[in-house]
């Protein structure tokens, strides 16, 4: 039966329903008016909630797009924050995200491969799944504290892109593991069985084959994690600090600027020139996140057609 036996839903008696909906009964007629009014009220309420929620979103998109387009110029990409541009922040973001992706992607993809291919019911797999759920729920400031205490202080790396990269990769890891596992599981078992029937070993051929089929899903997961990493501020504040100068890739004790940090640093300044940098950074961030979202969605659509 489709009824979920765990819930307390009882199928109303047919006689009950017929009695309640008998049009010849005057009580039913007046009740129908009430039911119709309730229905229309709910309809209105749901419409209002849609508008109430969409208004801030469109306000945000419009406001930052308007300001961003107004302020965007070549200087944004050539000058550093000392001169009103964002080149050091853009470069810093790219470096930090690149580092964290470089750590999280191999770890996550191979982790997901293990979970999907080699371990069906084992206790170890459910532990890894549970742990990755916990990691996904960690507040980013707590992970930032970890990065600060362990990497910046204890290892004495100081504020550095590497510390920021490792911290962000902890935030990205669970999503990559889970989406890789899901995408691999979605590949029909007929393909795997066909490959093994043709004599391939489990590791080489099957994974080259199933990975190819699962690739759109895996890439979507990677894109989403990159989007999450791009949106983070709090952990970066205490692992990468802030700087007005061009970032140094693998240096230690070298603070780096990043787009989200620019917004946080300059959002209250009274000087228009500095606030403009915050607007520009916001615009670039929203643009990037939008592109990632559109791209991921089209990938997912291609993947579900499988």
């Amino acid at each position: 039966m489709y009824w979920n036996k765990k819930s307390n839903v009882e199928a109303p008696e047919t006689a009950d329903i017929v009695a309640r909906l008998d049009w010849r009964n005057p009580a039913v007629i007046s009740n129908y008016r009430n039911r119709k009014i309730t229905n229309n009220l709910i309809k209105l309420f749901s419409l209002v909630s849609v508008l109430l929620v969409l208004y801030p979103v469109f306000d945000i998109l419009y406001m930052f797009a308007y300001k961003g387009v107004l302020l965007l110029s070549i200087q944004t990409f050539t000058e550093t924050t000392l001169a009103g541009g964002l080149s050091n922040a853009i470069l810093g973001t790219i470096i930090i995200i690149g580092l964290s992706a470089g750590i999280a992607i191999p770890l996550g993809v191979f982790g997901g491969i293990y979970m999907a291919e080699f371990s069906d019911r084992s206790k170890y797999a459910s532990v890894v799944r549970f742990v990755s759920d916990v990691l996904a729920g960690l507040p980013s400031i707590v992970v930032g504290y970890f990065g600060f205490l362990a990497l910046v202080l204890y290892f004495n790396w100081g504020f550095s892109p590497m510390a920021a990269g490792i911290t962000l990769s902890i935030l990205m890891l669970p999503y990559i593991i889970r989406t890789t596992e899901l995408s691999l599981r979605k590949v029909p078992s007929t393909i795997r069985e066909a490959a093994i029937a043709l004599g391939s070993s489990k590791s080489q051929m099957v994974n080259r084959l199933t990975l190819r089929f699962a690739m759109p899903g895996i890439l979507t997961g990677i894109l989403i994690s990159v989007g999450i990493a791009l949106s983070e501020t709090a952990p970066l504040l205490y692992t990468a600090g802030f700087s007005n100068y061009q970032p140094c890739g693998l240096c230690f004790h070298s603070q780096t600027a990043y787009l989200t940090g620019i917004i946080y640093t300059f959002y209250t300044t009274p000087t228009a020139e500095f606030q403009n940098m915050a607007y520009l950074a916001a615009f670039l961030l929203i643009l990037t996140v939008l592109l990632i979202n559109v791209f991921a969605r089209s990938l997912l659509r291609r993947f579900s057609k499988l």
Partner: protein, 327 residues
């Protein structure tokens, strides 16, 4: 070349070892937090949770307490940020859950197909917008709007209620609750919408055949079906609100005392941790940092419990890969 079985085993153990990285990360994080919060736990004990006073006493001389160097007269109490976190998350749920369910109902029952996919796309975009940008918008738009329009109206007409009296501020409890609500709506909406859509079409058709209105179909057929997923989604949203740092830091007003009205400034644990760590480094005894780490450990435990409960509920319900990825 290695034989097939040997390379199979190698691949299996290699990827198994790599998958352990998640476990290693979590254990290391837990260990680091415990080590760096231990001094504060030992020195301040239960008072950490009961006092509102947060005084690092940076102008005092150090003294020894329970074997740790501590500035004389310092007191670290987590009550103000803790209350602020709970209050702002509760307000976010009060605003966010009805809105999310309203949107989910609209998408599944009342809106045409084209409009549904457009709105769903916007909702998913919302989930990706960085929290600093929500905070920035809250700072630029929501704060002034509350200060100049909404809060004076509320203070005028709702002042018979005890919590709604009093001076109005732009950045405080109400602003934080609203910004958090906007941020948790995408999570709750996408999971709820997917769960509601999973109800079998036959049951909905049977309802229509009986003459049920759309709302009655939702209430009597779809909600019971999706109940555990929706509750899981709400708890997931709660987990997100508890851990949200930047947006709250930018619109909360960063209070040092408990709020007296819905307009007054508050502070949340995450925001406080983000704002204070800079200044904490001047404490020569490092107790300020240890106290902040103890706050971090507390926040970690709270969000961990909430998220685990939520995921158990969501897994027992129905999830598709799209909504799963959003979360």
């Amino acid at each position: 070349m290695l034989s097939a079985t040997v390379s199979d085993k190698l691949y299996k153990y290699f990827s198994a070892a790599i998958s352990a990285s998640a476990i290693v990360f979590l254990i290391v994080i837990a260990i680091v937090l415990v080590i760096y919060s231990y001094p504060s736990i030992v020195v301040y004990g239960i008072k950490f949770f009961t006092t509102t006073v947060w005084n690092p006493a940076l102008d005092q001389q150090p003294t020894m307490v329970h074997g740790f160097e501590v500035l004389r007269g310092s007191s670290f109490g987590v009550l103000v940020p803790l209350v602020g976190t709970i209050l702002s998350s509760a307000l976010a749920l009060i605003f966010g859950v009805p809105l999310s369910l309203g949107i989910a109902i609209f998408l599944t029952q009342y809106s045409p197909r084209r409009l549904s996919s457009l709105i769903s796309f916007v909702i998913e975009t919302m989930a990706g917008i960085p929290s600093v940008i929500y905070g920035f918008w809250g700072f630029l738009v929501l704060g002034p709007f509350l200060l100049n329009y909404l809060e004076p109206l509320m203070a005028k007409y709702l002042s018979f209620l005890p919590f709604f009296k009093g001076p109005v501020y732009s950045y405080g409890f109400l602003a934080s609750g609203m910004v958090l609500a906007i941020m948790i709506v995408p999570i709750i909406t996408s999971i709820s919408r997917d769960a509601l859509m999973q109800t079998p079409q036959e049951l909905k058709d049977a309802g229509r055949a009986m003459g049920l209105t759309s709302w009655e179909i939702v209430r009597k057929i779809m909600f019971p079906f999706a109940k555990s997923s929706i509750i899981g989604a709400v708890i997931l949203g709660l987990g997100r609100a508890l851990g949200e740092t930047m947006a709250v830091a930018m619109v909360s007003g960063t209070a040092t005392s408990l709020p007296v009205s819905i307009y007054s400034p508050i502070n949340s644990m995450a925001a406080f941790m983000a704002l204070s760590l800079d200044g904490a480094q001047v404490d020569p005894t490092k107790m300020f940092i240890y106290a902040l780490v103890e706050m971090a450990a507390l926040l970690l435990i709270i969000t961990m419990i909430v998220n685990v409960v939520a995921r158990i509920l969501v897994r027992h319900g129905f999830i598709t890969s799209e909504s799963f990825v959003q979360v």
